[in-house]
Symmetry: C2
Subunit: 150 residues, 2 copies
C-alpha cells in the first residue's frame, strides 16, 4: 500500500449509539458542557447518500461536542442500510470511525480504490462531501474523509 | 452524574491490535509517515499495573503516531489480564479508548468512583500515571486519564 492521503490531521471521532438523547446528556454531564441540539442528516434528495454503491434512505441523528481540537460526533442511525447501522448491528455501540480533514475527496477515493481500499459510503452533509473508506482490515478502524474548507 | 473531569481535551486515541508490527507498518504506509519504534510498557516493578484492583503482570507493546494535535496509540497486549486484553477478547481489534489530558489523577479517580464510574486499570508509563475508568455504559467508550505535565 502506498500513501493515499495527504493529511494526518485527526478532526473527528465518531461514536455510534442507540439513544442519542441519553448518551449526549451523559457526555454533557460528564464533561460539564451544554448538551448540544440534535441535528438530522438530510434525506437522499440533498445528501445523495450511497452505501456500498447503492443509493440509500439512510439518515442519522447527530450531536457534536468540541473536545480540544477534535470533534466528538455521536451518531444514531435511522435503521436504513448504512455504514453506521452496519457497525451497530455487528459491533454494538462504540467508536465507529476516525475523521480526517482533507481535500479533493473524489480524487482521494479513486486513489484509495486503486490501492485496494474501497469506498463504503459517501454523501453530503451541510453541502460538504464526506466519504467512509474501508480501512478496517489494515488500520483496524474505518476512516472518514471530511472536506476541509480551510 | 455530575461533572467529574476538568478537561475535555482529547489527547489520544487507543487502538488494540493483534500484530503491532503489521498494523504500524500499514499506518506508516497509508499516511506516508516513518514507522516509529515499538516500545514495551514496564513490568510490574516499575509500572505497578493494577487491573480491576489486582496487581497484574500485563504488559503491552506500543506505537505512537502524531496525528495533528492527537496521538494515535497502537497497543498489542501480552496476554496477561488487562483492560487491553479484555477488549481484544470481547470485541476484537479496534478503538479501545479515548485519552484525556488531565491532572490530579488519583483525585479524579476517587471523584468518579463516587459517581458510579469505577476504576478499571491504573499504572505508570514512563513515570507518569494513567487510569482507565469505566465510562463504557454511559459514554460508549472507555476513557483514559493521562497525566498532563503542562
Amino acid at each position: 500500500m502506498k500513501q493515499v492521503v495527504n493529511s494526518n490531521k485527526i478532526a473527528q471521532i465518531g461514536i455510534v449509539v442507540h439513544d442519542i438523547e441519553r448518551t449526549s446528556q451523559a457526555y454533557a454531564d460528564f464533561f460539564g458542557m451544554e448538551k448540544p441540539d440534535v441535528v438530522w442528516t438530510d434525506g437522499f434528495d440533498k445528501a445523495e447518500t450511497e452505501y456500498r454503491e447503492e443509493p440509500t434512505d439512510a439518515r442519522a441523528r447527530l450531536v457534536y461536542f468540541n473536545m480540544g481540537s477534535v470533534q466528538l460526533e455521536l451518531i444514531q442511525p435511522n435503521g436504513e442500510q448504512s455504514i453506521w447501522q452496519e457497525f451497530l448491528d455487528n459491533h454494538g455501540e462504540g467508536v465507529q470511525h476516525i475523521g480526517l480533514a482533507t481535500d479533493k475527496i473524489d480524487e482521494r477515493v479513486r486513489d484509495m480504490d486503486k490501492e485496494g481500499i474501497p469506498l463504503l459510503q459517501k454523501g453530503k452533509y451541510a453541502g460538504d462531501k464526506y466519504a467512509y473508506v474501508d480501512t478496517n482490515e489494515e488500520l483496524k478502524v474505518i476512516f472518514e474523509l471530511l472536506e476541509n474548507k480551510n
